[in-house]
Amino acid sequence: MAKVKLSLPIGHSPTVLSNVNFCIGRPFRQPVELSDKNNFSKGLELWLNNFNDDKKLYAIFSGELTYIAAPAAGQPHSLKLELNTEVQSKLNTLPSSLEPIPKVVLYENIDSAQLSVILINLINTEYSVASGASSSWHPVLRTVLSSSNTTLKVKLDAENTNGTLTSYIASFVNDFMTTSNITFAIKSGDYISDAADPLAADIQPVACSLVNPKRVTIIMSEYNNNIINPAYYVWIYLKNANDANVGDQKVELNTFSSLTGTVYDHPLLGTNGINLDLNVPKLARVPVQLPNTAVEVILFPVGELGTYHGITLSAHDSAIQWRITNDANLDFEVQLKPGANANLIYNGVSRPIGICGVTSANRIDVCPTPEAINNTAMQNVWNDWEDDINEFCFEFQFPAEYIIMCIQQETNNGPRKLALEELSQASQNLLAQTLPQTTIDNYTDIDPKYGITVPDPIIMTNPVVTGHALTWGQLMQIVEIVPSRMSPGLIQTLVSTARTNLTKLAFLYPNIEAKFNVAAIPSTNAGLFQWLLVGRHSLLVSIFFHKWNYANKGTKLDLPLVTACYNAGSINYREGFKIKIPNTDPAQYNNWANPWVMRFNGLDYPRNTSRHYNAIKNNATILPRAKFWQSF
């Protein structure tokens, strides 16, 4: 299976070791609003020689280029490289990355005047060698032109016949540079531009003594435009390229370089570059030492979450929008979607949407303003689990606010809480192959059952619920066969979900027990059930689960999406809720429209968690080591 080609952005040659002369500029830091922000770069800041090939820039991955002209004088021109879908798909198969794949590589501060010359030359060169099947052509030649409904290659053939090849290629590149949203397909390793002169505010590093240098910054971001350390991506992909298991290798270094021990000899990857010792993990977000604090923290810039936004699922727009205020408060706020009806109808029942200030009866309450109970609860959770949450959220790089609120929502801070879900008929049939029918009947006699507190120790002959026949021993027999119906522990992952996540976690940390100082992970489901009743264990699983969902299920670190995915397993559509009224016929259940449009287990889930979140932000004593921060 073809591997993803990773080329270095400077000093690229597939056959010869480069001696590119350059300096690394300011170190990377995610764009958080701190007083020293100008000492850091949003990407890999490179200072290059202004001669030979040193200022040449190359495509890191195959994809589509877009030219972004400087919005004003004194600002940089840029090239945006969006990875093509095939590359994205292949990178998504790496089980060894905690982060979402990169979607965009931005080359900030490129030489606009040289760009057209370089791209014209690229087309001329590739056209001159293009022959045979179209699959062998350079991707730009396979571009289908809307004007002629033919590929660029076919069009160039016609222009060549007419003697107008040169002028047509020039016009093609001119269109690319002057018309927004026109893209230019390129391959990994293509020479795509030159670095430009530094801007007026740029300062060459003191130790760098290049004469008339050029400067470019390589900025890499994921699917929601959150900026990730480029060194992290290079590290994770070169680690993969050198995976001892050849079958796991999905990436190959397309730039000539060899390893000496664990260090590459290419200048950019060597001791003068980003020092890519493959044994030293590079972090996606670098730790920050805040003033007057003793420990480093991981800060997550609010980024696009700071703008009011909703979600569209299955062609249904959410009736409300939300944001995290991009200021020191970092509040979660909700408003009606502009133009949306203030009332929502579900199954013929119309109700007002209860944003903050709307107090009418029977409102669909989405107001995230915390109440006193939220503040007390958050403090209690933090008091009990601060160390564990800090350790795991720092390691996995995930905002701790979401974990604290989730604990409260799921169990009201109960590490030995248990939920027993309804057994499907298929599950009962499976159990009947092994267990006596009375054991199954004893379970179905009480299911579904919530809020059970598991005793410590568990006496297997005792009943799970007083007055009912199911014993703990019988429950363990059922768990062993059907682990997908029981949620034990502080943050309520199903036993089956916990198993899945621990399997995924083992790809990143082969020795989970030693790395995270947790008890041996049982191989039996009944054993795992009891393992999850230790709060630290439940937290390890669920914090990783949250991070996995961000990296792979599109939760964007966005509160309603994060909670929907954690609660429902994925982000999908739900039109409304039919709330049970005791002792009534189902036809008379109350109907409630769902302004969030995301599937939750209950309509109050996003509202409660948002109130918990704001209670955390109102509490000056809850200071996690991984948390949101104002961005710039």
Partner: protein, 217 residues
């Protein structure tokens, strides 16, 4: 690829819950009808991508990828989803099971591969299950059919009524014929919430010239 000359006609049945069962009977070659007659529409690689590839024997990553990785006759293959049938298939959930079977849909000696699979995605309050079937032409290395045959959404009933929403599409591979039919929802159906289920027209399909064709009723 090992080739087999089948003495018996195997009947693979994808039952209503999409699990395979297997029986055998004397081989019958239907040669008294024209496959091209009165046929429409054609299933022409709908929802398929031509991506059956030989994999290294990497058992460690077995089932963890967003593609099917499976073993047939000691060889490992992978099949990548096109990712346009359901939002949920963009993630890396593992498969609960993958069952590959060789079948013969043509009168010649060509082989096809049928694969049934299941994956699920559950959170603290419920989740979803998917099952599907894929048929791949081994000789041409191309996908013939790729359909989700079962989708369920479940909300654990903490607060509201709870719901078990199941929709199923029955796809039976029987000899050289594929029968597609809709199964009534088990408990509750709301099509607005179930987006991925196969929309193949009900009927009996035959395989000819590397496509499936629906016999007119």
């Amino acid at each position: 690829m090992n080739r087999f000359i089948y003495i018996y006609l195997f009947v693979w049945l994808i039952s209503y819950d999409c699990s395979f069962s297997q029986t055998s009977s004397s081989r019958v070659i239907p040669n008294n009808y024209e496959l091209n007659r009165n046929t429409e529409p054609i299933i022409s690689n709908i929802n398929c991508i031509d991506s059956l590839k030989v994999e290294d024997k990497v058992v460690r990553i077995f089932k963890l990828l967003p593609k099917l990785v499976f073993e047939v006759d000691g060889n490992f293959y992978s099949y990548e989803f096109k990712n346009n049938k359901s939002d949920d298939f963009t993630n890396l959930e593992p498969y609960n099971y993958i069952k590959p079977f060789k079948i013969h849909l043509s009168n010649d000696l060509s082989e096809q591969l049928a694969i049934s699979w299941e994956k699920s995605s559950y959170g603290s309050g419920g989740g979803m299950n998917f099952r599907g079937v894929i048929i791949i032409d081994f000789d041409r290395n191309s996908c013939l059919l790729d359909e989700i045959t079962y989708q369920s959404i479940e909300d654990f009933p903490h607060i509201d009524e709870g719901s078990l929403i199941y929709v199923k599409k029955k796809i039976v591979i029987s000899g050289k014929q594929i029968k597609v039919s809709k199964i009534s929802p088990e408990r509750y159906s709301d099509n607005k919430e179930l987006q991925g289920i196969s929309d193949l027209q009900d009927g009996e399909y035959y395989y000819n010239n590397h496509t499936f064709k629906l016999m007119k009723r």
